[in-house]
Point group: C2
Chain length 331, copies 2
C-alpha cells in the first residue's frame, strides 16, 4: 500500500527520477532539454498511476509550503466572540483560496494562564510559511520575538512596534471616531463622555485618541466599562461607547430613567458587537471592515513571504447613520 513516488514513475517510464521531477516542474530552460516524446511518456505514466507529489517532501526540498497559519489569541469558532471573528475568517479564507494557499488553524496551542501562547514547548508556527495573527490584544513579547526571528506575520488590527515595525492591516478607528464626534458637535453637542478602556489594546487606544482629538477644548470625561451607567450621572449629552454591548446597557438604563434617545441623550457605539448583545438596536456608529481586513491581511502576508518589507495599512470604517444620535436639546 506504499505510496507512489517519483522513483516508481521513473522506473515505469524508463527514465531517471530527475527526469520525472523536471517534467513535473516544467522549469524554463529545462523544457527545451526534454524532448516531447520523453515528456509525454512520463506524463502518460503519471496520468495512469494518478501520481501526485508529496507536498511535504516538496517543501522540505524547496523551502516553501503554501501554507498560511492563522493564530488566534481568542477562540474563534466556539464561544461568544465567535461571531465577531467570523467575518475576518471569511476574508482570510477567500483570499487564501485566491492565492492558492491552504490555511493552518493553530488550534493546538495550549492555554497558559488563560491565554493562548504562540511560543510554547513544541510550537507549530513553523509549519506555515507565514502567519496571520488575530485577537484584540497580542502579547507584546511574543510579537517582539516574531519580529526578531524575522518570521513573516501580519496582524489583523493595528499594532505598535515591537522591537521593529509590525505588519498589520487595521481599521482606522481614530478617523471615524473623530468624524463621529465632529458630527455630534455639528448637532450642537458640547459635553461628551467616553465609556471604555481607552487604552491597553491598540484598538481601544485609537478610538480614544479619535475621541480626544474630536472633543479638544470641550468637556469630555472618560469612564471605564464597569461604570457604564455612571455616564448618565455626568451632564454629557453624547456618550461614545467602545463596546456595542455596553451601549445597549446604557440605552436600557437611560430609558429606565425616562430619558429619550436620542431626544434627551445621544449614544454612539464604536464598532460591531464583540459580545452577545441585542443587535436590533439601530445604534449610530460605524462598521469595521472585517472581511476586507482579513482579505488584505493575507495579501500582505504573501508579499511578506515573497520577501517584501513590512506593510502597515489602515482601512476606513463605514459610518452607520443609525437612530441614536440626534440634535442636542439641552439648554
Amino acid at each position: 500500500m506504499g505510496r507512489i513516488t517519483q522513483r516508481d514513475i521513473a522506473r515505469l517510464a524508463g527514465v531517471s527520477q530527475t527526469t520525472v521531477s523536471l517534467v513535473l516542474n516544467n522549469r524554463p530552460g529545462a523544457e527545451t532539454r526534454i524532448p516531447a516524446e520523453t515528456r509525454d511518456r512520463v506524463l502518460r505514466v503519471i496520468r495512469e498511476t494518478g501520481y501526485v507529489a508529496d507536498p511535504l517532501a516538496r517543501r522540505l526540498a524547496a523551502g516553501r509550503n503554501r501554507i498560511l497559519g492563522v493564530f488566534t489569541y481568542e477562540p474563534v469558532f466556539p464561544s461568544a466572540t465567535g461571531d465577531f471573528y467570523h467575518p475576518f475568517l471569511i476574508g482570510i479564507e477567500e483570499s487564501a483560496e485566491q492565492v492558492g494557499c491552504d490555511l493552518l488553524l493553530l488550534t493546538s496551542a495550549p492555554l497558559v494562564d488563560g491565554r493562548k501562547r504562540i511560543y510554547h514547548q513544541d510550537h507549530r508556527l513553523r509549519l506555515a510559511d507565514g502567519c496571520v495573527l488575530l485577537g484584540r490584544e497580542l502579547d507584546r513579547e511574543e510579537l517582539a520575538r516574531l519580529v526578531a526571528e524575522g518570521y513573516p506575520f501580519v496582524s489583523v488590527g493595528r499594532r505598535d512596534d515591537a522591537g521593529g515595525p509590525v505588519s498589520y492591516v487595521g481599521a482606522d478607528y481614530g478617523s471615524v471616531v473623530r468624524e463621529l464626534v465632529e458630527g455630534a458637535r455639528g448637532l450642537g453637542h458640547e459635553k461628551f463622555a467616553y465609556v471604555g478602556h481607552g487604552a491597553g489594546a491598540e484598538s481601544f487606544a485609537d478610538r480614544h485618541r479619535g475621541f480626544q482629538e474630536g472633543t479638544a477644548g470641550l468637556q469630555a470625561v472618560t469612564l471605564p466599562p464597569a461604570d457604564a451607567e455612571d455616564a448618565l450621572g455626568t451632564d454629557a449629552t453624547a456618550i461614545f461607547v467602545e463596546e456595542y454591548a455596553d451601549g445597549a446597557v446604557i440605552l436600557q438604563a437611560a430609558r429606565a430613567r425616562g430619558l429619550a434617545v436620542p431626544g434627551d441623550l445621544s449614544i454612539v457605539t464604536l464598532g460591531d458587537p464583540t459580545r452577545p448583545a441585542p443587535t436590533d438596536i439601530d445604534f449610530t456608529g460605524f462598521r469595521i471592515p472585517r472581511a476586507e481586513m482579513g482579505r488584505q491581511a493575507v495579501e500582505v502576508l504573501t508579499e511578506l513571504i515573497e520577501g517584501g518589507s513590512p506593510v502597515q495599512r489602515l482601512l476606513p470604517c463605514e459610518p452607520v447613520k443609525g437612530l441614536t444620535l440626534g440634535r442636542n436639546n439641552v439648554a
Copy 2:
C-alpha cells in the same frame, strides 16, 4: 536569518545531531543512555535558542504530523451555506484542540467543473495525517481512491461504501424521520407528501427511506424541490420537506391560499436550514447534532491514524416539537 536546526543545537552543545534528536524525542530505552548532564546541556541550548523541530522534516522522516486536514466540498466560511457548516467546524476545532492537533483547511483546492476536487494536480492532502470530509455530496470516485490508497479519513455524514467501508460520523436521519411520520400518523394523518430529492446524497436518501418506512401502506407521494408548491395540489395533509427553506416556501404558499398551518395542513421540516431562510418560523422537525458530529469525527480520525479500523457511527437527531404539525382535521 536561516532557521535553527538540530545541527546548530548540536554544535552549540558540543554533541552530535543524533544526540539532540534523542534528547528531544526522549525515547524509552534511550533515556538511560543519555546522562542527565548531557541532556541538560542540550535542553539548555534549546531553550536559549528557542529551537523547535521542523514538523515537516519530522513527518517526512517519521511519518506523523499532528495536522488534521479539513476538506469541504462546498465553501465553508463565505456563502449562504456558511451558517450550516459552522457548527460542524465548532465541534471539529474543539476536538482538535483537545487531541492537540492543528487543523489544515484545504482551501487551495481549485474548482473543477464547479466543484472542488481533492485530487488535482499537486493536491495537498498528504500534508495532513488524515482528513475530515465535509459536504452533502462527496465524489464517489475520489472516495474510492482515498479508500484504495489507505489514506485515513472520516466523512461527516453517512456515506455508502466506496470500494470498501468508509468511516463516517453521520446523523440518523432514517430513524428520526420515521418517528416523525409515526407521530403524524398518531395525529390522524394518512396522506403524505415528501418534498425533496429523496436520492443522490446519502442524507437525502436516508430521510426518504425513513419517510417511506413510516408511510408504508399509506398514500405517499414524492415531489422534487422545484415543484415544492405543487405539494399543495395533492390531497396530502402532512408534507415532509427535506430542506428547511422549501418548508418556508410551502408555508407561505399555503397561507396565501387561505390554508391554516397546522389547522388545515401540517408541515414538517427535516433538518436545519442549509440555505438562507426565515428561521423565526417554529417548524416541527428535528435538529442535526452538528457540533457533536464534528467532535466525534475528529475522535474517529485520530483513532484511524493510530491504525484503527474503519468506524461508522450514526448519531440520533433531536426532534423539535414546533408548531406546524397538528391533528388531521380533514374528513
